[in-house]
């Protein structure tokens, strides 16, 4: 089969691109749409560097065909914050040294975002279990967990203050 029209909503914007059905979502995002936040670590469904939020679920975009994603609503790290207005999670990863080389970070933060949507006040153990699909070769995870716990606390404090 030749190329097909793939329509996506990415970070709130509707986009359309041509792709072969066998192309992987991560390649379409990075190469066709120039959304290079999600990284390719292993390309074998293990590391989570390619994690994006699709239809309210964290998915490994190296294990989704462009054709399967047709019609989906996708959020990547680019949709969470901007250089001038960081997302709380980005802020806390910075503050708590949740990254070293930074390669895993977009996937980590995109996954942590969905985890905190589902469980706004997790225990440390729940954070570790919920982040089990994301590997980091640098940090030893301690500071990633700290950053996510701190982000949860901050988000809850903001929510309470608003009430």
């Amino acid at each position: 089969m030749g190329k097909m029209h793939v329509k996506l909503t990415v970070n709130g914007k509707q986009v359309e691109t041509l792709a072969e059905p066998r192309e992987l979502l991560i390649h379409v995002l990075r190469e066709n749409l120039n959304i290079t936040g999600p990284h390719i670590g292993c390309e074998t469904s293990h590391c989570g560097a390619c994690t994006v939020d699709m239809g309210g679920k964290s998915v490994k975009s190296c294990t989704v065909f462009a054709a399967q994603a047709n019609g989906a609503d996708i959020t990547t790290i680019e949709g969470l914050g901007t250089p001038d207005g960081l997302h709380v999670l980005q802020e806390m990863f910075k503050e708590h040294h949740g990254l070293q080389c930074g390669f895993c970070t977009p996937g980590m933060i995109t996954r942590a975002y969905r985890l905190l949507q589902e469980n706004p006040d997790p225990t440390e153990e729940e954070v570790r279990f919920g982040m089990a699909g994301n590997l980091c070769r640098c940090t030893g995870y301690q500071n990633i967990v700290k950053a996510i716990m701190a982000a949860a606390a901050e988000m809850n404090a903001v929510k309470e203050a608003a009430q």
């Binding site: 089969m1 072969e20 059905p21 066998r22 190296c62 294990t63 065909f65 919920g130 982040m131």
Partner: protein, 284 residues
């Protein structure tokens, strides 16, 4: 890591999907969550001309509880199995096992139907479904039929399902008693080195019913009746548990691979089963 080319189809009914399977014959395959199939396609170990995506078929996506009967649509994800409270109250072992599969990202998309239809001895759900004595409904060009999970698996990647049939749902009866799913894996997200599902019912300290199944210890799941029989009618004392473990270890036929040699796997299988029996007994 790019698979060969294929045509993509997204039918909106089981009938339309079966028709595509019949029309395209050998070169066609269905895709559910894709988290077993896509890795195989990337490795070019699965090569197909037509990919039939089941995501558009809403009939395959519900969990129904009616009286003592549970029916789960093939496209229900592992994430949904974990979250569903009605299912938890009918068969809590399903949540316990599903939480030990892969990682959160995989569980959001991996489906129960894909897990049981796949035929990979490493998948956790086939053994669990044998333990629950579940039944699979498949639909093909000649209508639908039910196949017991305990007779569905023929060899690795070979099942009773014909190529032009789609697995539509999985059903079983609610399980009261105690339960446990014990799984040894090298790291989180890994397939089992050995895993064991156990259900136990007790009446006044005596075991009145037991069911045991083991995962990744043969080229199909193993559901040793003689191991369950070693528990039924006993007080679940040490001697009976040891007899059940011995019977189960004799029934498996693990192969040496990067998870370890045969002796090691038999040893781990015995430990997983013993823990599962003890935990199920404590909960019964």
């Amino acid at each position: 890591m790019i698979p060969g080319s294929f045509d993509y189809h997204r039918p909106d009914s089981v009938g339309a999907a079966v028709k595509l399977l019949v029309d395209f014959g050998d070169g066609a395959r269905v895709i559910a969550g894709g988290h077993s199939l896509i890795p195989m396609m990337k490795l070019r170990m699965a090569d197909l001309d037509h990919l039939i995506d089941l995501q558009g078929i809403n009939d395959l996506k519900s969990i129904t509880v009616s009286g003592a009967n549970v029916t789960i649509g093939a496209m229900v994800t592992q994430h949904e199995l974990i979250a569903n409270e009605a299912l938890f109250s009918m068969a809590p072992i399903v949540r316990e096992a599903a939480l030990q599969i892969a990682d959160p990202q995989v569980r959001y998309v991996g489906t129960l139907g894909g897990n049981v239809a796949n035929g990979d001895p490493g998948n956790d759900m086939p053994g669990l479904m044998q333990c629950l004595d579940a039944s699979y409904t498949v639909v093909g060009p000649n209508g639908s039929r039910d196949i017991a999970a305990r007779s569905f698996y023929e060899a690795a990647y070979f099942t009773e399902r014909q190529d032009d049939e789609i697995l539509t749902s999985i059903s079983f009866k609610s399980k009261k008693g105690g339960y446990a799913y014990e799984k040894q894996k090298r790291k989180i997200g890994d397939y089992a080195t050995a895993a064991s599902a156990v259900l136990i019912e007790k009446d006044g300290g005596n075991c009145t019913a037991a069911s045991i199944a083991m995962t990744n210890l043969s080229d199909t799941p193993v559901c040793p009746q003689e191991a369950a029989a070693a528990l039924i009618g006993t007080a679940l004392d040490e001697a009976s548990i040891s007899a059940a473990v011995t019977a189960a270890v004799n029934a498996i036929d693990p192969a040496e691979d990067n998870r370890g040699p045969v002796e090691f796997k038999k040893y781990v299988a015995g430990i997983m089963l013993r823990r599962a029996i003890e935990r199920a007994t404590a909960r019964a």
